[in-house]
């Protein structure tokens, strides 16, 4: 009993990593379900085989250590060594192969173009029948009940797109479009992570995955397509003046204003996102101020320069303006 306790503790710790927002074993989409099912079948099979093999060892060493008859030995070798693995592996392969086309199915209604940048995600929504992409960043929102198409690309180096709770991973390669599709089933907030080493801040390149009901998603997309909110409070207007004076629009776009930069993430609805700086900070004003003052300290090698020459009052006003861009 006392020997089993640490073992149980370890198992509990390991299992605690299997639930939550970024887990293959807590699927929230058809594709992740398939992968999870495959995993459990594989695990179950492996456990059965392990027990079988060990049982056999036990049998031939302890229960019946004497030689088998040639007939029994031949049956065991042919049956257990050739027929059984062939049948099991063929069954598993057929099952896995039969699941693959589903993973490669084309999406319908909605296409999302995701580009891996250093170290953030450019996300453009292309609803069916629309030519102008709705620009967003660092967050992928998808509706339940439909299979959405993802077109993946990268700007400088290879990245890999992966939201474990929703599906498998696909590499993003500069100059070559790769694709996948996802069919989420459970509304909620999930977390993705770049799954291919892409430079010094690879570990800090996360992605929020938000699954919504079709109704919520349609309402959100309509709002996302609209121009930015016009600030009304005096503090937010001061923040807008700082945004203009500091040249933020050189890199960032805020649709509906003169700011139309495409070097960094589109900020039109920044305040409406769940995370900041590609999943590494919560969308809060303190985090906004910390990020704007010194991005290098939070994400080494980030392309965004630091604005530590701004006063606390200017940074605070700027954060108020950006928070208001919902």
């Amino acid at each position: 009993m006392s020997a089993a306790r640490p073992g149980l503790l370890c198992a509990a710790l390991l299992l605690s990593a299997c639930s939550g927002e970024q887990s293959v074993l807590a699927p929230a989409g058809r594709d992740a379900e398939v992968l999870a099912t495959l995993f459990w079948w594989m695990l179950g099979g492996a456990v059965v085989l392990w027990l079988l093999m060990n049982g056999l060892f036990f049998y031939v060493t302890r229960i019946r250590p004497q030689a088998l008859s040639p007939r029994a030995a031949e049956a065991l070798i042919i049956g257990g060594g050739i027929v059984f693995p062939t049948v099991v592996l063929a069954a598993l392969l057929s099952f896995a192969l039969s699941e693959m086309p589903k993973q490669r199915e084309p999406g319908e209604n909605l296409t999302v173009r995701i580009t891996g940048e250093s170290w953030w995600w450019r996300v453009d929504y292309l609803p069916e029948g629309s030519d102008t992409p709705i620009a967003s960043a660092n967050e992928l929102r998808l509706p339940t009940g439909q299979r959405s198409e993802l077109k993946l690309n990268a700007s400088e180096v290879i990245h890999s797109f992966w939201i474990p709770a929703l599906g498998g991973k696909t590499d993003m390669i500069p100059g070559r479009e790769t694709r996948m599709s996802l069919e989420p089933t459970v509304p909620g907030d999930y977390r993705g992570q770049c799954a291919e080493f892409c430079g010094e801040s690879h570990a800090l390149m996360a992605l929020a995955g938000v699954v919504m009901t079709p109704g919520d998603f349609a309402a959100w997309l309509e709002k996302e397509a609209a121009p930015a909110a016009i600030p009304t409070s005096a503090e937010a207007l001061r923040g807008l003046a700082v945004f203009n004076a500091e040249g933020c629009g050189g890199c960032h776009a805020v649709r509906g204003t003169e700011a139309a930069g495409t070097v960094g993430p589109d900020l039109t609805h920044l305040g409406g996102r769940v995370t900041l700086a590609a999943g590494i900070l919560p969308m809060e004003r303190d985090a906004l101020i910390r990020w704007i003052r010194d991005p290098e300290a939070l994400k080494p090698g980030a392309r965004m320069p630091g604005y530590d020459h701004l006063s606390d009052a200017e940074l605070s006003a700027l954060a108020t303006y950006l928070e208001g861009l919902e």
């Binding site: 940048e117 700007s155 003046a241 203009n244 004076a245 500091e246 040249g247 933020c248 629009g249 050189g250 890199c251 003169e258 700011a259 139309a260 930069g261 495409t262 070097v263 392309r303 965004m304 320069p305 630091g306 530590d308 020459h309």
Partner: protein, 363 residues
């Protein structure tokens, strides 16, 4: 005698090594004591009047010439013969070098001629050197001769001085006086013009710049945060407490002028400045105008600035050799992906705009 015979004759088996060691030790001790005495008791005569022993000057000078020839291999820019380069070089020379090397039509002072080695008169000094050798000497200086090195790490701004040195041999005193004239006796105006407009594509016009930008920049030059041998020399002539007054005065002049007709190059620059979907280069106009809202006065106006100067500065930014004020980090990020063609296009665009202050910039 063969080598074998020689070794046999030396009879190494008969050498008494402890004696050899002691002899060498005593000699080393005596040498050390002698050398120490020269340093400690001032036995060496450092008199410039007494000069060197016969032959030593020749050895030193020949070493100097050969050292320069061996090390000089910088490639001169195509603009080396431009009048603007010669003029800028002449003005820096007038401030930094004339004291020792005099000028066309002028003599070195009696004091300078009493230096050892004696700094040659400039018309004599420039003989027998090639542009790359001028560049090396001005940039590196010559130790133990009184010739200083360039007061900056960047070396592209040495070339105007080289341009002047290649021409000074044929200049009259009047030519030199015309080049180095100070309008109303004002030092800054010698290069930057009476109204802050140099008329020289290698010297930036200041009439378009804000007081904030000029003040921050002058401090940066004076404190060595912005690297320029020419402006380091100029700002060492200006006391720190005079900078505010100077910046206010320089910012007073109001720019005027027309927009130049736009060509293909300028059009490309315009598109780039507006960042039409470029994911590498930020929109220049967000900081440098034209922009509909007021911009940070710490950003320089580029409207109507000279193209060669803009190109040179953009290259410095891209290569990480330009700094100075607290906002320079922004520009390092902005310029890192520019190539030479884009730099030429951007310089052409902004140079073609009507000279204007930052918030008045328009195209």
């Amino acid at each position: 005698m063969s080598l074998k015979d020689l070794i046999r004759k030396l009879r190494p088996d008969e050498i008494h090594w402890p004696t050899v060691g002691r002899t060498l030790g005593v000699l080393a001790l005596l040498g050390g004591l002698g050398g120490g005495a020269v340093v400690a008791f001032g036995l060496f005569n450092v008199s410039a009047r007494a000069g060197h022993l016969p032959g030593v000057s020749w050895v030193l000078h020949t070493t100097f010439r050969n050292s320069v020839a061996f090390r000089a291999h910088a490639e001169p820019p195509e603009t080396l013969d431009d009048a603007g380069m010669v003029a800028l070089g002449a003005r820096h020379y007038d401030s930094a070098c004339r004291h020792c090397h005099a000028a066309p039509g002028a003599e070195r002072s009696a004091t300078v001629r009493s230096m050892n080695p004696e700094p040659p008169h400039i018309t004599e000094a420039v003989q027998h050197w090639e542009p790359d050798e001028f560049h090396w000497i001005v940039k590196e200086g010559v130790k133990m001769s009184g010739m200083p090195h360039w007061p900056a790490t960047r070396d592209d701004d040495v070339w105007p001085v080289v341009a002047f040195l290649t021409r000074v041999g044929e200049m009259s005193g009047d030519d030199y006086a015309r080049l180095t004239e100070k309008p109303d006796g004002r030092y800054c105006a010698m290069c930057h013009g009476a109204e802050g407009v140099s008329g020289n594509p290698n010297i930036p016009r200041l009439d378009i710049l804000s007081e904030t930008y000029i003040r921050d920049t002058l401090h940066a030059y004076r404190e060595g945060r912005r690297d320029s041998g020419i402006m380091a020399e100029a700002m060492s002539q200006v006391p720190a407490e005079a900078i505010d007054r100077l910046a206010a005065g320089l910012a007073e002049s109001a720019p005027s002028g027309e927009q130049a007709p736009s060509d293909d190059l300028a059009q490309r620059g315009r598109a780039l400045a507006a960042a039409g979907g470029d994911t590498e280069v930020p929109a220049c106009r967000a900081c440098h105008g034209p922009w509909s809202e007021p911009l940070n006065p710490a950003f320089p106006s580029l409207s109507g600035q000279y193209a060669p100067y803009l190109e040179q500065q953009l290259r410095l930014w891209r290569d990480g050799n330009r700094g100075g004020t607290e906002v320079s980090e922004l520009m390092h990020h902005a310029a890192r992906a520019l190539d030479d063609d884009e730099i030429a296009a951007l310089a052409s665009y902004y140079a073609g705009l009507a000279p204007a202050e930052l918030d008045d910039t328009s195209d």
